[in-house]
Point group: C5
Chain length 84, copies 5
């Protein structure tokens, strides 16, 4: 799993039906940004744990959910490293 | 998932039969280019969400579809970062 | 598999139910940090082997466990390379 | 999927039985080289589409085929970018 | 698949039971080191083909084997590139 900070929700009105029913969040790991399915209900600024690979699908709710990155937990306390 | 900009369709006349029935798009993430299966019907210039890993297969239409990167949504508004 | 050094446990009170019942560890590979499910019972400073991909799930205890990085062994003797 | 240029066949007399029955090709993406299972019948110099992840297995012929990178198509026309 | 050079066996006395019955090898790809399950019986210095993703599991002997990198072949002749 990797640690990201939630930046903001992402709106994609035109998307495949399989992606509905879950919020998408733009998450940031230093300079890199990714999009994650929100399985915990987080808010911008939260430091979160994201799971990838095939585990992202079960974590999003079902084996058929088309996610490769899912937010699975909010970290209680996190101090990022300088330069990270 | 990752965010890419659609560059242009890709033509590969000689390909395995499993890849037929779907359009391929060259997508760009900064300097890196990849090829994605188009599951939403996008046009060059669109900013899109692409899913990878095993989720790319279901997203392309079936568990047997040989995709490792599938376009699953078009982002309503996206402002890329400078240098990205 | 990759070699990491265990840094410290990670606490995420608010997480999905599937992630319960296993400890999470922050692990470090040079400058990069990741979060791994601990399947062996390690302590900070240990050099460990972590498995990713879908194998991380079985390694964590079941095919349904939502892990993409699991600690599967503690290395007896390991000397990191300079600069690594 | 990613775009590679075929460099040359790879010979590995001593390999697991599961890898037999398919040719292996050394492929190149800029400076990085990889090995791909050839499912289309390509020749050195061809620009090809390679699929990774679990999709590489089906693309190579069966769910049991131990491939993580399979050549699935030959691109009709491709102009690489400078520096790529 | 990727090409690595075998460096040395890795000893991890304390590991999960699923990882037993197979030797682990430290492999090197330029500056990066990884750990691979040895499915062919190689020796230090060998240039080998390693498969990752879910294919690493079948290649290691069964769908349940917790490997994400398995040595599947020894290359007959390999000349690494300078600087690689």
């Amino acid at each position: 799993m990797k640690i990201y900070q939630v930046e903001k929700p992402l709106v994609a009105t035109h998307r495949i039906s399989g992606l509905e029913h879950r919020h998408l969040q733009v998450v940031r790991d230093g300079r890199a940004r990714a999009v994650a399915v929100d399985a915990v209900g987080c808010t911008p600024g939260d430091w979160v744990i994201c799971v990838g690979s095939s585990a992202a699908r079960d974590a999003a709710g079902s084996k058929e959910f088309p996610s490769d990155l899912t937010i699975v937990g909010i970290i209680d306390h996190w101090v990022p490293e300088e330069g990270a």
